[in-house]
Symmetry: C2
Subunit: 215 residues, 2 copies
Amino acid sequence: MRAIIPFKKSNAKSRLGTLLSAKEREEFALAMLNDVAGTLFASGCFDSIDILSNSIIDIEGANIVLTEKGLNEALNEYLQKMSSHSMITPVLIIMADVPLVSSKNIKDLTASSADIAIVPGRMGGTNALFIRDPASYHVDYYGASFLKHREIAIRNGLVVEVFDSFNLSTDIDEIGDLAEVLIHGEGQAAVLLKKFGFSIAENRGRVGVKKAHHA
Amino acid sequence: MRAIIPFKKSNAKSRLGTLLSAKEREEFALAMLNDVAGTLFASGCFDSIDILSNSIIDIEGANIVLTEKGLNEALNEYLQKMSSHSMITPVLIIMADVPLVSSKNIKDLTASSADIAIVPGRMGGTNALFIRDPASYHVDYYGASFLKHREIAIRNGLVVEVFDSFNLSTDIDEIGDLAEVLIHGEGQAAVLLKKFGFSIAENRGRVGVKKAHHA
């Protein structure tokens, strides 16, 4: 089985720009990627872990597949290459911004008996896709991609499972999401946020984050 | 096994006030409660389903336990009464605003071998608590209650499990959350939102909701 993680280093996580500099955001995005790739590696489920990136990065245990293409085009080309090379092994596409993912999540997800297992992200997104036969499927990210991915599977006559996981559905995009990393995270992303001075803040019973100014 | 759902009808879901009238919010809160109670009932896991409420409401298959007390006080009194009446049956406390919960979620959660199973809500909340022995535990909601509930269990020497579910972690509080109900919901809450004129809206790749004005 193969895993592929799309990743964009340049101007990563722009919606965190109010509290993090471009350099900090890049560092944070890499920490999340390391958490995800490390969990995939630790799960022992994969023969290869590929990172689809437009720049060279160094992630232990992973190959870098360089591309200048957009997300959908690059992933569909990847799926197509797998099938044209007669690689009929399953593939897991997983986003780089789900640092809470556990090894058990990956084992459970890839043990799915369905043709396609979709892990919803927040607000209609797709955080992971388990594709049993790369030749039978194509991806369509952005917008309510969860609905599109389910529809593509149904249209192609495939059996779909919706995989239910808070860890995997929690993609980190906005400042508020950082609270989830601080509360539940156990990897490099959580460590880095604390190093940046972030901590949990409570305001009239509601939880958020605050950032200390370093001396 | 018993289940208890805390519920507040008056001024329910005030953060939805920008797009829903007080009457609509009350109706929506009741629809979510019906979805949750119906799922508990359908799971077949419970001898009794109690709703802790400050007003009389009619929910099929559930008993109403009237109280004027605050959430923590009312729930801790409920746990204490169970133990003083020597009811050493497990209890599931579940919030009324998690309409995506499935029967499988309830079966899996109550099959936990831990003393305490905690289901995190978003932003540090607690959406469900499975308590094996009511005499051994007390609750402390508001703020980062997930961390408090884990800490109370550890302090009392109890084995804790964190139950990982997108369905159960998705509490519906804000306008944006309504998109989750429209995308993933299959119960009364989803039907009602559509009746109110809500639908999914996309704006430059991001998903939200819009509300049609009825003629």
